[in-house]
Amino acid sequence: MHELSLIANLYEIMEEKAKEQGAKKITFVKLQVGVLSGVVPDFLETAFDIFKNDTMASDATLEIEKVPLKIRCLSCGMEKTSDELIYICFECGSTQIKTLDGTELILEKMDLLI
């Protein structure tokens, strides 16, 4: 339920990057959100819309790419991508599992009007 504070961080980064480019408007924003990031994409969208009034992004659309979990077993080296959490290696039963992807909360790209 901390999506509003994350969107406040997002707007700081968006405006800083847009100003560096001398942009007047932000028209499109794409985020990567991992399944393990702890945030709910629907709530992010709502928070994004609450924030955008009277900003450079007032007409911007938001796209959220959900990044699945990718793990590697540290015992046998198996790698697996999944939408569900994995605690035990399917191949060897080890619980020594490293998360490679799925924790992202990243502003990937933006479209600007300059």
Binding site: M1, H2, N9, E104, I106, M110, D111, L112
Partner: protein, 223 residues
């Protein structure tokens, strides 16, 4: 106006991570071990801190940062033990962020051994925010139920240490301590686990030993 697409690739939590790393660096250089306590409301974080105040004094000096949505109540409980405590009231926010801890930085005495940060009671959101701690502890109290680790995996996944609290209440409850630990260790096999009752003093010697050993290791590494 012309359209331009730019690649940004910036972490939304990047500014929090940067501040947290600065806090960790500064406190570590002063030889202070920082411990972030996370759990649901009512699982015994403040009672644990009161008990630690008794266990650690007079040999060690501790201070506490208290996070709550409202009131100074927790900080007052800690101050009543003669321990310096500062209350952060978030006014509704569900977690502490590194910049809130950073604002208190100048108040933290340099001759401290342990700085405890009691996060806002919430088993979900605090897990996403590094506060500059050296050790992250998640508490699970017996009345909450032994099925919580897999329902709230991120708190257990990102912690160094699991404290099963209120074990004095286990007998009448359908709480299986072994099962709770097994489930938590499946999520994070590296979790150190302690079974305690802060009110009765059960397991407090082992927990104190873990914190003291961690403090000695931190000081040896940065001496």
């Amino acid at each position: 106006m012309k359209k331009k697409e730019i690649l940004v690739l910036e972490d939304l939590l990047g500014s929090n991570k940067k501040i947290a790393n600065e806090i960790r660096d500064k406190l570590t250089k002063k030889g202070i071990l920082t411990i972030n306590l996370m759990s649901s409301p009512g699982s015994g974080k403040t009672t644990l801190l009161e008990s630690l105040a008794d266990c650690l004094s007079p040999d060690y000096k501790m201070a506490v940062i208290e996070g709550d949505i409202e009131t100074e109540r927790d900080a007052e409980r800690i101050r009543n033990k003669g321990i310096p405590a500062w209350q952060i009231t978030t006014g509704g926010a569900c977690h502490l962020e590194a910049k809130m801890v950073g604002k208190l930085f100048n108040k933290i005495p340099a001759d401290l051994d342990f700085l405890f940060i009691e996060n806002v009671g919430n088993l979900v959101c605090p897990a996403g925010y590094d506060l500059g701690e050296n050790i992250r502890c998640v508490l699970l109290s017996s009345p909450e139920g032994d099925d919580k680790p897999k329902k709230y995996p991120k708190a257990f996944m990102t912690s160094d240490c699991l404290l099963i609290t209120k074990v004095d209440l286990v007998p009448p409850l359908p709480f299986d301590t072994e099962f709770a630990i097994k489930e938590a260790k499946e999520i994070n096999p590296n979790l150190k686990t302690f079974v305690i009752s802060a009110l009765k003093g059960t397991g407090m010697d082992e927990l104190k030993e873990y914190f003291v050993t961690s403090l000695e290791e931190l000081r040896a590494k940065h001496a």
